[in-house]
């Protein structure tokens, strides 16, 4: 694999939680690279460290040791630098959508741009149209279906044109029909917009829609796909 083509690269990541005898090592020197435009699925049993890996890749947490490179830049442990990269280059889709209940769909997207100090360049509008949820812009999460909420979460994650979209079990709370729709959208975004996607999933079907599936066990990668 050509190194310049790797948009996200983690090397020898170690991460544990707790202190003393209660300490649990979650990741044991894990390394993984994601290519520009790749749709990567990460699978593994519960507690194998998938979410921890995603949080580290999303720069929401810092590793105990190891290196993370994003868009060719080494991200050191500084919280300020991590925040800056997270703001600019990462989009996150959560299993439970995590929309702000007080705000409308449009405002949920708008607040994420506000936080990122970015102006709306029209991408949000395109995505609302593309994902078929233009009609819910003015609605609050409580007034939307679950599938609509998840698609709004995707618009919010992509409105600032992030380098990488990280999705943590995005179909985990959806029924099969909505899961299909969501995965179709991921596929389209990946193919048409060259959007790099890293998706954690328990679902073999969902993983089947990705370009590559990585399998984890006990904090290590056992199959690079």
């Amino acid at each position: 694999m050509n190194d310049s083509n790797k948009i996200l690269k983690v090397e020898n990541l170690c991460k544990g939680y707790g202190k003393g005898p209660a300490r649990v090592e979650v990741l044991h020197g894990l390394s993984l690279s994601v290519r520009q435009g790749e749709f990567l699925a990460v699978m593994g049993p519960s507690g194998c460290g998938k979410s921890t890996l995603l949080h580290l890749m999303g720069l929401m947490d810092s590793p105990d040791s190891g290196r993370i490179s994003l868009e060719g830049h080494l991200v050191n442990g500084s919280a300020t630098q991590r925040t800056m990269f997270r703001r600019r280059s990462i989009g996150f889709v959560f299993q439970r959508f995590n929309l702000l209940g007080e705000l409308s769909a449009a405002d949920n997207v708008s607040i994420s741009l506000q936080v990122r100090q970015m102006a709306d360049d029209g991408r949000a509008g395109e995505l609302f149209e593309k994902l078929g949820i233009a009609h819910v812009r003015g609605r609050k999460p409580g007034q939307m279906s679950i599938g609509e909420q998840q698609r709004v979460a995707i618009v919010r994650a992509l409105a600032h044109r992030p380098a990488v979209l990280l999705a943590d079990e995005p179909t985990g709370n959806l029924d099969s029909a909505n899961s299909e729709v969501l995965l179709d959208h991921f596929r389209d975004l990946n193919r048409q917009d060259d959007q790099t996607i890293v998706m954690i999933t328990h679902s073999v079907e969902a993983a089947g829609r990705a370009d590559r599936t990585v399998r984890m066990k006990d904090g290590q990668i056992i199959d690079c796909g």
Binding site: M60, T83, R86, F92, F94, N98, G101, S112, V115
Partner: protein, 413 residues
């Protein structure tokens, strides 16, 4: 642009309204109590300042106590003496006898004054209704004849006066030929007590007839004939007054004139302009009490806001974590919490100011003798205190919000 703090407040309407109301009550207390204490005291000062005089002559050593003293204190012949000796600088010297009289459920400093000098104490205000007491001076002449004429015999004036006192009754005073039991009241007291011209009222042990109503703003709320006041409340001694008000001739400087007159009579000669300061020194302590109560009320109100914001932060750790997952900086989180605090406080301050106008109206309607003075100065102080309180009460919740751990908060979902 999404306004998250406003959306949060609107999402929790009842909580927001209750929190704002807490602030509103604190602000209302601040504005109303300050307005009431200062308004009532300054109204007294303004009434005295409206008197057409420049100097107050009061007994030696009274100093600031002049503002609340009453009764016999100075020989009123000093008025004549001052006019005789300082006629070049003094245009008018008016003896005034002050005595508390209770009317409409409240004690008032009533001023006994010769009817010919009434206009000076009324600040040249016209009577709204009726006439002045003892308009042709018949009562004054009668009582002077009764009590002062024998005193012309040197040596036994006091004895004779005492004997006459014993002989005079209320019926003598109120004799229709020289009725001395007449009052002029101001329009505010008339409104408060629902008094009207011609009405008989019982006050300070006597039955009085209200003969006139002067427009509000005169020196005191109750005026009566000087001789009546001296006779009834000066133990029958109609030669003494409480103070003498002096009007200087045009162009005469108050300071030098004051010193000059003081040298002549040896009593305190105070510029009328000092009266407000004297009142403040004497009664200003009430402001300290009121301000302490206000401060406590505001602190409680802002603790309420802090608890509300703190609870909100605890309840919304997930939302805060979501913002942080977008890359929200601590400054952004701080701004959100402080904005929410400022909005709540701003809303509460608006409620408080509206409530304070309502409270002022209610107080002055139910208790017309009280003055609630809502000034721009105190509105400014209330707004500044509210803004400072909003920032201070938002800081700790904001600090807690900044410390929310993204991964922990989002993992605990």
């Amino acid at each position: 642009m999404a306004n998250l703090p406003l959306a949060n407040l609107l999402h929790h309407k009842l909580r927001s309204v209750l929190s704002a109301l807490g602030i509103g009550i604190g602000i209302c207390m601040l504005v109303t109590l300050s307005g009431l204490s200062r308004g009532s005291l300054f109204e007294v000062a303004e009434r005295l300042e409206s008197v057409d005089a420049d100097l107050i002559v009061s007994p030696r050593g009274w100093g600031n106590n002049t503002s609340d003293k009453s009764g016999s204190a100075l020989p009123d012949k000093y008025a004549k003496v001052i006019l005789e000796r300082h006629g070049d600088i003094v245009a008018r010297a008016v003896p005034v006898f002050i005595w508390p009289i209770r009317l409409a459920g409240q004690d008032h400093r009533a001023a006994g004054v010769d009817p010919s000098d009434f206009s000076m104490l009324a600040g040249e205000r016209p009577l709204d209704e009726g006439r002045c007491f003892d308009p042709d001076g018949r009562f004054a002449k009668w009582i002077e004849h009764k009590l002062l004429a024998p005193a012309e015999t040197p040596g036994d004036a006091t004895d004779i006066a005492d004997e006459q006192v014993l002989e005079l009754t209320q019926a003598d005073l109120a004799d229709p030929d020289h009725d001395g039991l007449e009052l002029v009241i101001d329009s505010r007291l008339a409104k408060a007590g629902n008094f009207h011209v011609g009405q008989k009222v019982h006050a300070s042990g006597h039955d009085w007839k209200i003969v006139g109503i002067v427009h509000v703003g005169a020196m005191t709320r109750i005026f009566l004939p000087l001789r009546t006041a001296q006779f009834l409340y000066g133990s029958g001694d109609v030669t003494k007054c409480t103070m003498i008000l002096l009007k200087l001739k045009p162009g005469v400087q108050i300071g030098p004139a004051s010193r000059q007159i003081h040298q002549t009579i040896g009593h305190d000669v105070i510029p009328l302009t000092r009266y407000r300061g004297m009142l403040l020194e004497k009664f200003g302590i009430i402001f300290v009490y009121v301000d302490i109560v206000n401060t406590i009320a505001l602190v409680i109100a802002f603790l309420f806001i802090m608890v509300t914001l703190y609870t909100m932060v605890l309840q919304r750790t997930r939302e805060i974590a979501i913002l942080k997952s977008f890359g929200a900086s601590n400054a952004f989180i701080l701004r959100q919490v402080l904005a929410e605090s400022l909005m709540l406080t701003g809303f509460g301050t608006a409620i408080g100011i509206a409530l304070s106008f309502l409270a002022a109206w209610l107080i002055q309607t139910l208790k017309p003798l009280l003055t609630v003075s809502i000034t721009w100065e105190w509105l400014g102080i209330a707004i500044a205190a509210a803004a400072a309180g909003a920032v201070l009460s938002g800081l700790y919740p904001a600090w807690r919000a900044m410390r929310v751990d993204v991964v922990e908060a989002l993992t605990l979902e």
